[in-house]
């Protein structure tokens, strides 16, 4: 039964990773940009959330309502001020730009918040649990997973059935042809990045409620998001969700085998998928 429990806990952990990963999948799918500063934005928004909660006593729901639009605004400005200038067929300029941004953000956060670890109090939510027979699940991870499912499903519906979604998919398929169909691709890219970073506003609150965070932690979140996206298939929203579940399950199963194996088993699964199916599990290619 402990392995069934491990799978359940892994899926719940995957819910948090999915919130990291779907934004990255969206940015890669539309613009072929791997945002190296992705994890740093989670930490930045988390630290801003902790400071606001400390100063104003705002609860987690209020913080999400505040941090999601803030993240979206940061993403929109980032795209217009930096990424739209380096976007193109060569991925190197955007990699270098976001790598530089990652270093700058980490130093900025160290300057403001120091290297101390911090967390958000989840109150009773952090310790509440539900039981299904012998399986026990925390209420917070269940909420995180439910939010991840809603975000992924909602984003998928937007991409399929709205004018914005069609413009986004057209821009991803052929930038110049999209322009010739009347799509303002630069604005579409900015909105895609706004969505990607906006989602991190929610992920940041859950991350800070679940564990402690500190300015240098962004690298680990970036790796998990990146691995989830690669496992599922670069650019696929449901692929990123599935990759997150697989990564979460691999890590929890690894922890059950040996505490030292948790993170490592996640990396091993990532490498196996990369070697066996480099286009990812849910990619059509």
């Amino acid at each position: 039964m402990q392995w069934v429990d491990a799978v359940v806990q892994g899926v719940l952990l995957g819910g948090l990773y999915a919130q990291y990963a779907i934004g990255m999948a969206l940015m890669f799918g539309v613009m072929r940009i791997v945002n190296i500063a992705h994890g740093d934005f989670i930490i930045l928004l988390g630290l801003i959330g902790i400071s606001i909660a400390t100063a104003w006593g705002l609860g987690s729901a209020g913080l999400i309502l505040l941090l999601v639009p803030l993240g979206a605004l940061i993403g929109w400005l980032l795209q217009h001020s930096v990424l739209n200038k380096v976007i193109g067929t060569d991925p190197i300029p955007s990699l270098i730009a976001t790598f530089g941004l990652s270093i700058a953000l980490q130093n900025f956060m160290l300057q403001i918040w120091s290297a101390d670890t911090r967390s958000l109090s989840g109150g009773t939510l952090s310790v509440a649990s539900v039981s299904l027979g012998p399986i026990h699940a925390g209420v917070l991870p269940v909420i995180v997973l439910a939010c991840a499912v809603l975000l992924t499903g909602g984003l998928d519906l937007v991409l399929r059935y709205t004018a914005f979604g069609r413009g986004l998919r057209a821009s991803a398929a052929d930038h110049n042809a999209a322009t010739l169909s009347g799509v303002n691709t630069k604005e579409v890219y900015a909105l895609a990045t706004a969505i990607a970073v906006g989602i991190l506003g929610m992920a940041a609150v859950f991350q800070a409620m679940r564990t402690t965070i500190a300015p240098p932690d962004g690298g680990a979140q970036l790796i998990y998001a990146f691995e989830a996206v690669i496992i599922g298939g670069m650019g696929s929203i449901w692929g990123a969700f599935t990759g997150s579940m697989i990564l979460g399950v691999a890590q929890v199963v690894g922890f059950r085998i040996d505490p030292g194996w948790g993170i490592l088993l996640g990396h091993i699964v990532f490498l196996i998928v990369l070697a066996a199916r480099p286009q990812g599990l849910m990619s059509r290619g």
């Binding site: 069609r166 052929d174 999209a178 010739l180 169909s181 009347g182 691709t185």
Partner: protein, 244 residues
């Protein structure tokens, strides 16, 4: 006589250090069909891209409906009624035929009440095969069907001028005939057509006027019916030679 809806004066453009167009003059009136002919590398597609705003002007002017469009982004020009069918179709792979059409329809300009609007139904009446295949991914269509979808997508933006870059390229003669037979229906609504075409006979039959380009310059222009094959050959190749 109606004034031109799209005109170019002394247009120079190019890629990096390479200048591809040298002082090109051009105009097209509402509802008129004009063909640009010339050999590979003559500058026809470059000129079309410059008109559509995909390439910046180095010098000269381009006016659409009497207003300069220099520096206006392509997507805005589409919103004003200047659409293009790009060479090689350039459909959105991974999307259905109808989604391809809707991308342009979502952003189409509003048309005056007295102008017939291009709707999905009207387009499907023009190209019935697209209705049949509307749920299919565009990459699963044949070359001719893809070309119809590319023309349809451009029509969805309700163009006043439609720039068509080599729409016959790579298609079977029967399919080319089918597509060219539908052009009168498109111009009927007052839409001007600019056809870049390598097939001189086809261009001469379809167009009211011809422009012949060679090495980035216009070497011949006139009414299609007034220009002889010898004149075209001389302008096309830059030498005087008889056409047999």
């Amino acid at each position: 006589m109606t004034g031109p809806i799209l005109s170019a004066r002394g247009v120079c453009a190019g890629y990096g250090d390479f200048q591809a167009l040298f002082s090109v003059d051009f105009n097209v009136a509402p509802g008129e069909v004009v063909a640009l002919i010339g050999a590979n590398g003559a500058g026809k597609s470059t000129f079309l891209k410059t008109l559509a705003g995909l390439l910046p002007l180095r010098s000269g002017t381009v006016e659409f409906d009497g207003r300069s469009i220099a520096g206006i982004p392509t997507y805005r020009l589409v919103g004003h009624g200047l659409a293009m069918v790009p060479e090689g179709r350039r459909l959105f792979d991974g999307m259905s035929v109808e989604d391809n059409l809707r991308v342009a329809l979502d952003r189409a300009r509003s048309v005056p009440e007295d102008t017939p609007e291009w709707t999905l139904d009207r387009l499907y009446a023009l190209f019935p095969i697209l209705k049949e295949k509307r749920g299919h991914l565009v990459q699963s269509l044949s070359g001719g069907q893809q070309q119809m979808a590319a023309i349809g997508r451009a029509l969805m933006s309700q163009p006043r001028v439609l720039l068509c870059d080599e729409i016959s390229l790579g298609l079977a003669p029967k399919v080319i005939r089918e597509i060219y037979d539908l052009l009168p229906e498109i111009r009927q609504s007052g839409t001007a057509l600019v056809l870049v075409e390598q097939d001189v006979s086809l261009a001469q039959k379809a167009a009211d006027r011809l422009y012949c380009m060679l090495e980035g310059q216009i070497t011949l222009t006139g009414r299609s019916s007034d220009i002889s094959r010898e004149e075209i050959a001389a302008a096309y190749f830059g030498v005087h030679r008889a056409v047999g």
